[in-house]
Subunit: 333 residues, 2 copies
């Protein structure tokens, strides 16, 4: 158990390696989520920021900067920026998805209201821009403001594609790149840029973040159908019930017979579902082995992430990032 | 009529003075509201951006830059930035207020849905940051990112203060500075900064924008109780029905007898209103002359705006800005 437990948790080893930086990031996040005038803001923000999130995205920024030899102060700001963008997105996502739970706790829109979630999300978004301006690095500003636009575009695209059976694997990848991978790759790229790393290192870390983000989201979408709800804080089949076309379903729709297509049309496009439909959906995914195929895709992207940084100089953090890519898909039994 | 019509519409004269710049701003707005992947974005945005808005905020940026002798290209980007921030705010406001009408047309949240309004607002917000990064001017970035945070903070503050009878004139002013004046002053200040104007000119134009924004919002809140609904696109008493504590009511609450206080508590704090309550509210405002007092406050801020720019060098645009301040309160018969 001991050995595998160590191997299994590169995320914790990365957190240990970056412990001092993370303390600084958390202090900066707490300072910047304050509002002299509107106490509702830190209340709502604290609910999310202190809910035991893994700080994965800010760790990627810190890791990239340290891996590239950075010893200045600004990676802390960029890491906090990335976490604020992420938190703002979560607040707005929960409004859009009408979610009641996140990380096993009631969502902010449920505890307060949709209005607070929308406006506090806007505040954190604006705060993230203030934070990213402070290092005074225009290239970093371009990376992070482009990421913010790509994220929002991916969310809108998901909105219109979600219940449309014409959504294929290409569109799915586009959505995933927008809503998840854009922030992962901006996190690693901006860490490398603030460290003034050579162009090929910047590109390698961008590619790592992009592939890691895609692997992470595919794994998440897969776990929705085969995960254990105590680990994910979600119930099996939530995406099906919310009529989200994710990869396991898209692969089944792509191979569907006429009858099966009618089933998907009724349950996903038209949203007419009864209690037994989830089981039938799982049967169709089993028939075409789409959970296994989705798992392979996730592993492929984790491999892509590892290859991206293979040529970087040897470094303890490089090894941790390599292991992190394995870990993201190791959850997929 | 001819003379007074000319005097009465400094806004149109400013638009004429800045006609070429405005053509460029509109072209940039149209180009940047596109989305290759998500056609929902330009649909929703066009509904608002092309709804005959007066482009008041971007004109302020253009006017400040030109008044300070700017002849570079970047004031166009800053003006488009300001309009995008404004449009994003409108989209989110209409979700938060559950509005059905804006500028006499159905709102985007009614035509599409709240989800689209939230996410397209996020997209425009992100686009505004991309636009403001492009001129590569860090001081401008600070001004505009600070304004974005102040706006969001003002909106959250309004959310918690709106139905609370303890909201006094100081808190009202804080909210107005946040939700309205912060963008006016950032518009004028960033125009002056991009033109490399001397510090006292920058300060003068900041103060002008701040005071003009406050005058504008007070006038708007007053017109809600005495305006003509064809001009404002709103119905008399909307704020009362939505239980918004604006200046005319705050002034009446401040002088209320015990019985009157109970009336305000029931209608605003508890939201228990019947059809005759608006008339009684108007009677109480008449009793204490609060509409006239509110009108005086608006005029005071318009005067403050005019004084702020009085010491700037003589210039056609300075005169137009002076007249614009008069115009904002001239609507208040």
């Amino acid at each position: 158990m001991t050995d595998s437990a160590i191997v299994a948790r590169p995320h914790d080893r990365l957190a240990k390696e970056l412990a001092d930086d993370l303390v600084a990031v958390n202090a900066l996040i707490r300072a910047r989520m304050e509002s002299r005038h509107a106490p509702r803001i830190p209340e709502v923000t604290a609910h999310l920021v202190e809910a035991g999130g893994k700080r994965l995205r800010p760790m990627l920024t810190l890791a990239a900067a340290r891996l590239c030899g950075y010893d200045g102060p600004w990676h802390i700001h960029l890491a906090a920026t990335v976490e604020f963008i992420h938190t703002a997105t979560l607040l707005h996502d929960d409004v859009v998805d009408e979610s009641a739970q996140r990380r096993g706790r009631p969502t902010a829109n449920l505890l307060w209201d949709n209005k607070s979630s929308v406006l506090v999300g806007d505040y954190l978004f604006a705060r993230s821009f203030q934070l990213m301006v402070e290092p005074g690095n225009l290239r970093v500003l371009e990376i992070l403001s482009n990421a913010a636009a790509t994220i929002a575009e991916g969310e809108v695209l998901q909105l219109s594609a979600a219940q449309n059976l014409a959504t294929d694997e290409d569109i799915y990848l586009q959505i995933v790149r927008g809503k998840t991978a854009a922030l992962f790759s901006a996190a690693t790229e901006s860490g490398a840029v603030i460290a003034n790393a050579p162009d090929d290192h910047v590109r390698a870390l961008f590619n790592y973040g992009d592939a890691l983000g895609i692997a992470f989201q595919i794994a998440d979408d897969l776990l929705d159908y085969q995960g254990d709800s105590t680990a994910t804080g979600k119930n099996i089949g939530d995406d099906f019930r919310e009529r989200k076309l994710t990869l396991p379903v898209i692969k089944a729709v792509g191979q569907a017979t006429e009858d099966e297509r009618a089933f998907w049309k009724r349950t996903i496009e038209l949203g007419r579902q009864d209690a037994r439909d989830l089981d039938h959906a799982l049967e169709l995914m089993a028939k075409y082995n789409t959970l296994a195929a989705t798992r392979n895709d996730a592993r492929h992207w984790a491999d892509t992430a590892k290859s991206a940084i293979a040529a970087l100089p040897d470094h303890r953090i490089r090894t941790l990032l390599h292991d992190l890519a394995d870990y993201v898909v190791a959850r997929l039994a």
